[in-house]
Amino acid sequence: SDDDAYPDAEKSNLPVFTMDYPRIQIPFEITLWMLLASFAKIGFHVYHKITVWVPESCLLISIGLIVGAIMHSVHEEPPAVLTSNVFFLYMLPPIVLDSGYFMPTRPFFENIGTVFWYAVMGTLWNSIGIGISLFTICQIEAFGVQDINLQENLLFASIISAVDPVAVLGVFEDVSVNEQLYIVVFGECLFNDAVTVVLYNMFSFVADMPVVEPVDVFLGVARFFVVGLGGMGFGILFGFVAAFTTRFTSKVREIEPLFIFMFSYLAYLVSELFAISSIMAIVCCALTMKYYVEENVSQRSCTTIRHVVKMLGSISETLIFFFLGVVTITTEHEWNWAYILFTLLFAFVWRGLGILVLTQIINPFRTISFNLKDQFGMAYGGLRGAISFALAFTLPDTIGRKQLFVTATIVIILFTVFLQGISIRPLIEFINVRRTNRNVDTINVEIHCRLMEHTMAGIEDLCGQWSHFYWKDKFMKFNNRVLRRILIRDNRAESSIVALYKKLELQNAMEILDTVSGDISAAPSIVSLQYETRISAKPKKKFFAEDLKNMHNILSKNMYKIRQRTVAYTSKYALPNDSQPREILIRRHSSIRRSLRPGSFHLYYYFFFFFSDEHETMSEVAYPARHSRFGQPKRSASGAMMPLHRLDTLKEVPSVDVLNESEKGSTSRGVSRTNSSYSDSRVPARGSPPSL
């Protein structure tokens, strides 16, 4: 009967409320951990003063320590995050991509020799120096570490001598040092990976061999070249493939960022496959890719890419430091005073010595030499971080003293991050290291940079001497003739001056549009071209509502009309507003001049229209507005406003009826081009003004 089939005598009803934790456990815990670490990050910035003095990395580790202590006391196991696969495959790539993508390219290439010198020779020097010193210490019986042989010491040394990008960048971002120093430290910590990988593999390979033969050393050197050059090669290859792919993505703008991430990650994974330097691969990929990709993708995608790269890097970094703190408490430690203290000592000493010696050798080859203060900054800024820790964790278990190594690594990391990280800023300010103001984003500066480059190239040609200007020139020519043709969709060679100019103008335009509705004082700089708006000639300090309304009307009619004309359908997979807008760059080339009548003003404006269709030849129209009078408002110092001066040039510009022009233009040339290669703001001005 029915009752026999079910041994439970009770009949069960439909459960209204159930819970199935194991099913979601893993993603759930990941999310919670991420949120916890991010909350910690929010929390730091509540009290601003902390972050000025203590770098975020220290704070995160501290919070991690606390959480680790809590977990330990309730005998919970932390998630296995800092063990090899998860760390190296998931947590490290975003950070390195972040560093590589935002690396300032010009200073990097100008100092590339120095960077590689420090990265390669510095790491070698440190590893061998520390390894041998520790080995000699091990010989002393009293310390009780005699069982560690030379190879194991060298292996350990190679782990802890690598300067870590995560830690260093976290600290150096806040401390503004001169450009040369910054780029050398930055580059060094990214590119020493090749050496670390080789040394690590080599020493762990020979760790249990009793004798190391010269053949092994030779093979090690050969392997270094394979690892280093292979990493760079793969990176550059994937970079070019990514750039080439984005040439064709104009119809699928929504997934453009995906290509960037997938190709970089692919470069990383393929390098890991062949056990070559994956960090170098991803950095080179980002470097190569960035320049071409940013020209191909839309403005939105570009912003998205930058934003997501930053976000992923930030999350990874947060999690890494956090878990460093947690795992510190929860691992088993083996403590040996002598070994650990001597490790600390030797790490300092050898780094300092290394920087000193290497700088002495390379200074004659540099034009801007590093003085002692710079050298101090470099040596002191050599922080160790999570990479060392992960490498220590992945040591093969055949090494007898693995726990000691792990403990020593943690101690070094904590020491450098806390002590050096906190004290580096005051020290650098105290000894007054040379600083550079890194963000000079004005047109004048850009113009003069170009001017200097060309001048230098010319003088070099005159002197008949080669230097890096010559090579740069050659590369730029090659770039323009070959690479750009292949990799960029709209190959229009564009000067960086023009690019910067457009960027600044776009910013100005955005700010105007933003403030029109809010800030009254910015409003009068936009004026219609066709309308003569007569506002009272009395001197006014404020605007009346009517004036404002007039201006709004004019503004909306002139600008938005043009936008609306070109809105296409949005489809299901298109982002909203991601149609084919014509970007309007408004040039507030305005000048105010008091007219003859007291209190009324004339405003002259230019409007420049950059059309995006490649078939259009007209690209810009200069247009002064006449007879527009507005009461001058009390000018507030808003960033968007450029002060208004009369310039001599205004009289020369012919007047053109822009709106009519654009109407004619759009109908005669056809508006929606299905395969038009539009790019939002990166459109150069082309051709000459039409029918003026």
Partner: protein
């Protein structure tokens, strides 16, 4: 340079060393280059420099050549331009591009920087009136942009105008609307570029080795 006393040449070189700061080796090498450029004559004219093939693609070729003949770059408080220059003037112009060494003190660095700024300023200020007017600035920008793609003249002008406006707004913010911004004076010019690191951008490593013989394949004049 036919028969010349080695002794007086040495003496001359030492004078030049003191005046320009080059080393003896560098002066000798530059002298060889000078003679190469001048076709073994004593002086160089504009036509000698114009015919260097490598310079043909340089957008500001004219300004560079002009700089050599500009009297202001000789630091002797004269204005105007030469028709032809001798080796000493050639060296003086080249000395603007010496990199600072470790031993350069801060005041010397400042002086060097000012020299470089003056050099740039003189490149703009072709009529030697001490001000860079809008016309002059426009000209330079147009030339700079002339080789990079299809930048129309209007765009170049617009950029030059924007640049002038930038300078005016930062350096003379209190100008009334009626005032006319004459042009960029040297002080304004200095201030405009105050954040720019010139050292790493405006120097040439004058080698101590003879390079004219090391140019495998490079077409020299």
């Amino acid at each position: 340079m036919g028969a010349s006393h080695p002794r007086s040449e040495q003496h001359q070189y030492h004078e030049l060393m003191a005046k320009t700061g080059f080393s003896l080796e560098q002066i000798k090498n530059l002298h060889i280059r000078f003679q190469h450029l001048s076709g073994n004559e004593e002086t160089i004219r504009r036509k000698h420099l114009s015919s260097i093939p490598a310079l043909a693609n340089n957008p500001i070729k004219k300004e560079i050549i002009e700089a050599f003949f500009d009297k202001r770059n000789q630091h002797e408080n004269e204005t105007g331009s030469f028709e032809e220059i001798g080796f000493e003037q050639f060296l003086m112009v080249m000395s603007h591009f010496r990199p600072p060494t470790l031993r350069t003190k801060d005041e010397e660095r400042e002086a060097l920087r000012k020299e470089k700024l003056h050099f740039l300023f003189n490149m703009h200020d072709t009529d030697s009136d001490g001000i860079i007017t809008l016309e002059e600035y426009r000209k330079v920008v147009e030339e700079l942009l002339s080789k990079s793609g299809n930048i129309g003249q209007e765009a170049a002008r617009a950029i030059a105008d924007a640049a002038m406006l930038e300078v005016a707004s930062t350096n003379a913010p209190d100008m009334g609307p009626d005032d006319f911004y004459e042009g960029i004076t040297f002080e304004h010019f200095e201030q405009m570029l105050q954040n720019l690191e010139l050292e790493s951008r405006m120097h040439i490593r004058f080698l101590d080795v003879k390079t004219t013989t090391m140019h495998c394949g490079k077409a020299t004049m």
